[in-house]
Amino acid sequence: MDPQVVWFADEPCRDVRVAGGKGASLAAMTLADLPVPAGFVIPAGALEASVDGERLRGLTLAGAHDEARALVLAAEPPREQIAAAYERLGGGPVAVRSSATAEDSEAASFAGQQETYLGVVGAGDVCARVVECWASFFSERALFYRGHKGSLDDLGMAVVVQRMVDAEKAGVIFTVDPVQRRRDQMIIEAVLGLGEQVVSGEVTPDHYVTDRAGAVKREQLPNGGVLTPGELERLAELGRGLEEHFGQPQDVEWAIAGGEILLLQSRPVTTL
């Protein structure tokens, strides 16, 4: 039987067919010794092992999204393995995210196939969220989209479980300036607390335009200056490292906890 939990550091986790796009990316960054919070993936095959796969496929192909969702919501995830992995992670709050194996994960995210649950505590809740991530794959919108792509029989949805950091500060780095279209400067945005507020646009972050070394060229500080010059330099260094690692400009989500910089996500910048 295939393993029902793979750790970011495990080799199979680097395979997008096993861990999905998000999981494989976290595994690759872990391998590169980048400061990624620890975590594991419930691999893509686990869903099929937890339900009547044949029936689920039949419902999906028939476009019966309500029945398919009901079937998935009643699924029995590998509780013991998930609970053991959660304990090994140290308990405490985790983030649970779906991680699609489809190539066009950007489009998939807009089709509502990407769920994120933050601050999940306790093995029971983690299992419940894993099942909800699976179910999101069978929403009407997701099925409509996959139907048009001709990939309805694809049940490849992995789920990432990652330790949540108790962030003092968080934000994003663009390793190139997408506004001025400049490769010789970066944009760093930061808020106090969790970074989700920056990404969702709920809070206006402190905004720094820096050179490649992290020295500030311009700044706008509605929060009064969240980052120190030393932190800006270290973030710029992280950005440069990621750009080199992935071979193209990156859009990076980061957090600072206990003085340590942690890397939450890194994606290519597509708008330059």
């Binding site: 489809a102 950007e106 792509k149 506004v179 010789d184 945005e189 646009g201 905004h207």
Partner: protein, 577 residues
């Protein structure tokens, strides 16, 4: 000589807008060319791309008594133009490639008075014949030049080969701009002749009528709209394509969705790419090299198609409406004119002018857009070679070098620190966005203000107008570069989209993908929420619309109808009087 005439006003610089003057420059009236270059101009475009580079040829060819050249000067990053009188004593020291330069005027004080009748004699000949020259000789010449540049394998060529190709591209550019001025004079002459005949035969007419008689219903612009509309129709009738166009939040998302399916890839290969080749030789600002063309980045095409999908744009109806208006304008003009010699002359002047209507959109397509875009593509190809050679980090850096610096770099990659130079010039250009350039500088005289072309820039009215004052100012994040001034329109829901007029500045809390229709008609955007990677910022950049996001308070402090100025490069929004 200009100096002998009384000055109506002068501005030689201030602390906020310092000006360095060369000999002879102060005596001229310099007008900010916001019509073509509203943004700070890049060094490379200033050196080799400008429309002004062939104006001495135009004035010499036509024998204009009112000017011998049109010169340009960058002041604090902005392009200012001055017409030089056809006066042998006028010694304007314009900077072309930073070299001393004096316009060519015969050493004959009587020249302007004597040459005027020549212009009067030849102009009607241009008006009568230009369309035939254009169709039979000039447009084919332009298309041959394009075929040469488009067919050139720039990836396979070496740096020196591309440097020489750039010289060919500059020659082509200059030749096309010479054609541009002939076309302009011919069209100007036909329009003047028509307006003169209207005045003579009919007296005063509705002031909108002459403008309505200029509408074109058959040109490359309509061709490009028709092709977009065809794409929209195909998508509308295909569930899979429709899903892809609704999957992405931005054009990049739509493209990713298209690339994710066989049907989508076929659409990209058979529809999108050919459209880019044929109609993509343009950028959001034609008179600049720093903006990617649609050929390089199809985002504006995808966004336009998305807008058409949302409104179910009807090409045939839009074209029919323009045709109907033109026909009604023609009827309005000819109605009540009695048969006879007068009517025949009016009809002849009208026919000639109507025949030339497509020249306005077509010359934009072939010259302003198509020619400048192709010079940019050669420059980008050179930039790539310089990146490969380790001399630059970004091919686009080439636009921030002077023409002769680039040539020095072709000679030796170690000629100077090109990275540092490009970086510093990019800083200068960004800083220039914070400056508000005055409408004019130098010395204004009656005759300088009377230069016939200046009406296109709103002069002499602008000279007498008091510039608006800033009543309030709010700050957000610079999300999409550029500056836009216009009337504010607060929008809070989809139901209010119909009220938004072309050229308005939309002020809202936040945008989402359903708002794409708005982006096709607004001049600028201000939001309360969002950062530089949020939806309003990304889509504004795809459309090339100046945007300030994350102001927190814009929807409280700005009211519909306020005059606002959005600076998407500095993040400042001003409310003007």
């Amino acid at each position: 000589m200009a100096g002998a005439e009384a000055a109506l006003g002068s501005f030689y610089g201030s602390d906020e807008f310092p000006i360095e003057w060369l000999e002879g420059e102060r005596e001229l009236l310099w007008i900010f060319d916001d019509l073509h270059c509203p943004n700070p101009v890049s060094p490379m475009f200033f050196d080799i791309g400008g429309w002004w580079l062939t104006c001495d040829h135009m004035f010499r060819r036509f024998g204009t008594p009112f000017a011998s050249d049109w010169v340009m000067k960058t002041i604090n990053g902005y392009a200012y133009m001055a017409a030089v009188a056809a006066d042998p004593e006028a010694l304007a020291e314009a900077t072309e490639y930073e070299a001393r330069y004096v316009p060519r005027v015969p050493r004959d004080p009587g020249y302007p008075a004597r040459i005027g009748p020549y212009l009067g004699a030849v102009l009607p000949h241009y008006a009568l014949n230009f369309l035939d020259w254009w169709r039979e000789r000039l447009r084919p010449e332009i298309e041959r030049n394009f075929a040469y540049l488009d067919g050139y394998d720039m990836d396979a060529a070496g740096l020196v080969e591309l440097a020489v190709l750039l010289e060919d591209a500059i020659d082509i550019h200059d030749r096309h701009w010479k054609i541009h001025w002939m076309l302009n004079f011919a069209q100007f002459s036909a329009t003047m002749a028509l307006n003169g005949t209207i005045q003579e035969i009919k007296g005063d007419v509705d002031p909108d009528l002459p403008g309505r008689l200029q509408s074109s219903v058959d040109d490359r612009n309509w061709d490009s709209i028709e092709a977009l509309w065809r794409m929209k129709e195909e998508i509308k009738g295909d569930a899979e394509l429709n899903a892809a166009f609704h999957a992405g939040e931005s054009a990049a998302g739509v493209l990713a969705a298209l690339e994710g399916s066989e049907r989508g890839r076929r659409f990209v290969a058979e529809r999108l790419r050919p459209y880019q080749e044929e109609f993509g030789n343009k950028a959001i600002w034609s008179h600049e090299f720093v903006y990617p063309t649609w050929r390089e980045n199809p985002a504006p095409i995808l966004e336009a198609v998305r807008g058409y999908l949302e409104t179910d744009y009807d090409y045939a109806a839009a074209l029919a409406a323009v045709k109907a208006d033109l026909e009604s304008a023609i009827r309005e003009l000819m109605d009540g004119v009695p048969a006879g010699e007068g009517r025949d002359r009016l009809q002849a002047a009208l026919d000639l002018s109507l025949r030339m209507n497509p020249l306005t959109p077509d010359h934009h397509f072939f010259i302003d857009q198509g020619t400048n875009a192709r010079v940019r593509l050669v420059l980008v190809a050179i930039g790539r070679k310089l990146v490969q050679a380790g001399v630059l980090d970004d091919p686009e850096d080439v636009m921030f070098l002077r023409y002769n610096e680039l040539r020095a770099l072709v000679g030796s990659g170690e000629a100077f620190d090109a990275r540092a130079a490009a970086s510093a010039r990019r800083d200068e250009r960004e800083a220039a966005f914070a400056i508000r350039p005055p409408d004019w500088v130098g010395t204004a005289t009656e005759s300088q203000l009377a230069f016939p072309y200046y009406t296109l820039w709103g002069f002499p009215e602008k000279f007498h107008r008091k510039p608006p004052e800033t009543l309030d100012r709010l700050t957000g994040l610079a999300a999409s570069p550029g500056i836009a001034e216009g009337t504010a329109r607060l929008v809070s829901s989809l139901e209010e989209f119909d009220q938004v007029k072309q050229g308005e500045i939309v002020v809202c809390r936040m945008t989402n993908p359903a708002w794409v229709v708005l982006f096709t008609k607004i001049a600028g955007l201000v939001t309360d929420a969002g950062g530089v990677a949020a939806h309003p910022a990304v889509v504004s950049r795809e459309f090339g619309i100046p945007a300030v996001v994350g102001t927190s308070t814009a929807t409280e402090r700005i009211a519909t109808g306020d005059r606002v100025r959005v600076n998407g490069s500095t993040g400042v929004v001003e409310i003007l009087s």
